[in-house]
């Protein structure tokens, strides 16, 4: 259970030495209670207090790192139920399942699909984060063989080993020792042996039970076996059950600080129909899944799911934005066209992408509008004729280009008069409305 500020205060040294950066122990205690400070800021806290407070001040959903190295994924640490309250912290991982009954060619193709899944969207590199190797055959040798293939072909990709057999687990996990793998399939029946295997290979444990009561009992048991890092599954497979369990788990962790369910959740979204499967995976993205397992990774499906994850995990208070400046697209010269837009990331990346598609080098003037899109910024009075004129004057672009022509977005055609008035000697050209018409527009312009 979470402790109040006063309860925490009682455990502190009460010397008011200020080494934590706060004026008094009480002030520090209050910040700890609000999770706005961490205990390690106080150098003098007793070991006993550390133990009590450490338990209480730990984030409600335990942080877990899946994988290692550059492709490692952070999970957990969530603090709210709704994204408008506060940013969701760690985006879920998408994991592609490979079953050990699948033919070699399929296995190879799936590994390739993961390795080639990277897509750049709005400046972020997105990809299928991991591979789940499932022991469908029940045969440890088969699982080990697939594991070896994955370890060789995709050594950096985080891996889940999915089996309930400790022997099969050992055969597979030995290929991922110390690599932040997850051993999923720990149940009431096999917990002791599985915990041993997981510990030997420094793996996180994936526990599985039917229902949340059994699940909480099992996580406590596993913890008693000396394993701290877990991901949890209450057995939900149908969409309605996934929504229910994910919601109740998140509520228990956040509203009641119920530690036995304070772990990242793993959801299995696999369906026969790969397109339909994306809707179930989307439920995991929107509603508290930390790992979402899928059975296929078509490029169109990846793009849609990555985009959803990006949307749900953006900061609701601060739109994603880019720096105000004149960007060079290609290698522009003094004659190259000059285009203006706002600094909302999405707007910038769409427009710069289309200029690149045009293969016409250009100057792209990106104006600070607090991260708003063109029309929103215009409606909010941040993308006005006067402000644009000012920005162009101060940007120094007049020294870079020999012409005096500014291309503006079609949606704000209405601004051309004011800009020409305020920006002496300049001519305004109204571009197309939608960015996908930019390539043709630019090609005709320089032709």
């Amino acid at each position: 259970m979470a402790l109040s500020g006063v309860e925490i205060f009682k455990l502190l040294p009460k010397t008011n030495c200020k080494k934590c950066g706060f004026p008094t122990c009480l002030a520090f205690a209050m910040k700890l209670a609000q999770r706005q400070a961490t205990l390690d800021a106080c150098p003098d806290v007793s070991e006993e207090a550390k133990k009590v407070l450490g338990e209480a001040s730990a984030p409600p959903v335990r942080p877990i790192t899946f994988g290692s190295g550059e492709k490692a994924v952070k999970m957990g640490e969530e603090t709210v139920l709704f994204r408008h309250e506060k940013k969701f912290v760690n985006p879920n991982a998408f994991v592609l399942e490979i079953r050990d009954t699948e033919e070699d060619a399929t296995v190879e193709a799936k590994i390739d699909a993961v390795l080639n899944s990277e897509i750049n969207r709005v400046g972020q590199l997105l990809r299928i984060d991991g591979i789940c190797i499932t022991n469908e055959s029940g045969d440890g040798g088969k699982l080990g063989a697939v594991a070896e293939k994955v370890a060789t072909k995709a050594p950096e990709v985080p891996v889940i080993v999915n089996t309930e057999s400790p022997e099969a687990a050992e055969a597979a996990l030995k290929h991922f020792t110390g690599k932040g793998a997850i051993l999923y399939g720990v149940t009431e029946g096999n917990a002791e042996k599985m915990a041993e295997v997981a510990k030997a290979h420094k793996a996180t444990v994936g526990v599985k039970a039917e229902g949340l009561e059994a699940l909480s009992a099992l996580t406590e048991k596993v913890k008693g076996l000396g394993v701290e890092d877990m991901v949890i599954d209450g057995g939900a497979r149908r969409a309605g059950e996934i929504l229910e369990q994910n919601t109740l788990i998140r509520r228990a962790a956040i509203k009641k600080s119920f530690k036995a369910l304070g772990y990242p959740v793993i959801n299995f979204a696999q369906r026969e129909d790969g397109m339909y499967e994306a809707l179930v995976a989307g439920l995991g993205v929107c509603k508290y899944g930390s790992i979402v397992v899928v059975s296929s990774a078509e490029k169109w499906k990846n793009l849609a799911l990555f985009t959803l994850r990006q949307n749900i995990y953006t900061d609701p208070q601060v739109p994603m934005q880019v720096e105000q400046k004149i960007y060079r697209i290609g290698e522009p010269t003094a004659d190259s066209p000059l285009i203006i837009t706002t600094n909302f990331s999405l707007t910038y990346f769409i427009v710069s992408g289309e200029i690149e598609n045009a293969k016409v080098p250009a100057w792209l003037a990106v104006m600070d509008c607090e991260g708003l899109s063109v029309l929103t910024a215009w409606a909010a009075g941040k993308f006005t004729g006067a402000k644009i004129a000012n920005f162009i004057k101060e940007s120094g672009i007049e020294e870079e280009v020999s012409h005096r022509e500014l291309i503006i977005p079609g949606y704000v055609a209405i601004l051309s008069g004011t800009i020409e008035e305020k920006l002496e000697g300049w001519k305004v050209t109204v571009g197309p409305r939608e960015a996908n018409a930019i390539p043709n527009f630019l090609k005709q312009k320089v032709a």
Partner: protein, 312 residues
């Protein structure tokens, strides 16, 4: 310490809205968060309406235009096709042809289209203007009158034209969509204005404004979640009408549903991409609280219905 489920029950609920004449449909009516059947009542599934237009859909991208080839030149054929072949539970007829920048069709022409579609189908009909503030306040009152007795949904009333449109919907016994721009306060204010002029809040549908996956979806999603929490937890009556997700129109104009695979191989097949884009936008908004959805692609609708089956 043992596990205890943290369940929530609310004092407020969403109004159920019943539409249609020959065949009725009801949506809304729950007293819990979207699909939270484990702690409340969810008596009705969301209603998905197939979008059709008064003029041929020349601007729709190929993926969704071609599925209506041969019927989409004629709104009556198109509506029948949706009802009879695709099993549409509702039809959303958008009068885009009336837009002054387009064909600029007159209110008389709109009335003709509307009456012939109403006669052709049994399913409830949602009648939408062209989203031109002035033209809608000219056209929508006329079609609302012509549709009297059919218990339709009329849309959309906005801050700038709500009076005329709401008056017409009220006089002719229709339900009304109230649209504002992605802001819970604006949405609440418009609903208040409407109820102040005597429009029953139980006959409203709130449209907080849609946006497509990747193009502002997170804003619509969060505004919907906030409206729904206000309705349930604060028992705020003006926030209790069901919500609309006008999905098809926002999805089928973005680059992701149009760019061919030859140009962007890393995005994969354009057909599947487009269909999934529409379906995933719809399901995400349903999880945030939308109960009425307007969609275009039959495969997308089919998948969303299947997803609802799995949720309910």
């Amino acid at each position: 310490m043992g596990y205890e489920a943290v369940k929530e029950s609310f004092s407020g609920g969403v109004f159920p809205v019943r539409i249609g004449k020959e065949k009725e449909e009801v949506f809304g009516g729950e007293n819990t968060l979207p699909f939270h059947k484990f702690e409340g009542e969810v008596p009705n599934r969301p209603l998905i309406a197939y979008e059709i237009q008064d003029v041929a859909p020349e601007e729709w991208p190929e993926t969704v235009r071609t599925v209506y080839e041969g019927v989409s030149e004629d709104p009556v054929k198109w509506a029948r096709h949706c009802e009879e072949e695709l099993g549409a539970r509702a039809i959303a007829l958008r009068l885009v042809g009336t837009h002054p920048d387009g064909k600029d069709l007159t209110a008389e022409e709109a009335v003709k289209t509307v009456t012939s579609v109403l006669e052709a189908v049994k399913a409830p009909v949602i009648i939408l203007g062209s989203n031109h503030v002035e033209k809608d306040s000219e056209v929508l009152p006329r079609v609302a009158e012509a549709a009297k007795g059919y218990n339709c949904v009329i849309g959309k009333a906005q801050e700038a034209n709500y009076k005329t449109i709401a008056a017409a919907a009220m006089a002719n016994d229709h339900k009304l969509i109230a649209m504002s721009e992605l802001d819970i306060n604006l949405s609440k204010q418009l609903n208040i204005l409407l109820t102040q002029m005597g429009f029953a809040k139980e006959k409203l549908i709130t449209d907080p404004m849609c946006s497509a996956l990747g193009y502002g979806l997170e804003y619509t999603y969060s505004v919907m979640e906030r409206i729904r929490l206000a309705a349930l937890a604060q028992n705020d009556e003006v926030m209790q009408p069901p919500m609309l997700g006008d999905v098809g129109m926002y999805v089928w104009k973005i680059k992701e549903v149009q760019a061919p695979e030859e140009v962007l191989p890393e995005w994969g097949s354009v057909e599947e991409r487009g269909i999934l884009w529409e379906a995933l936008t719809a399901t995400s908004l349903m999880l945030a609280g939308a109960e009425l959805l307007i969609m275009r692609h039959p495969k997308a609708v089919e998948m969303v219905e299947k997803f609802v089956d799995e949720l309910i």
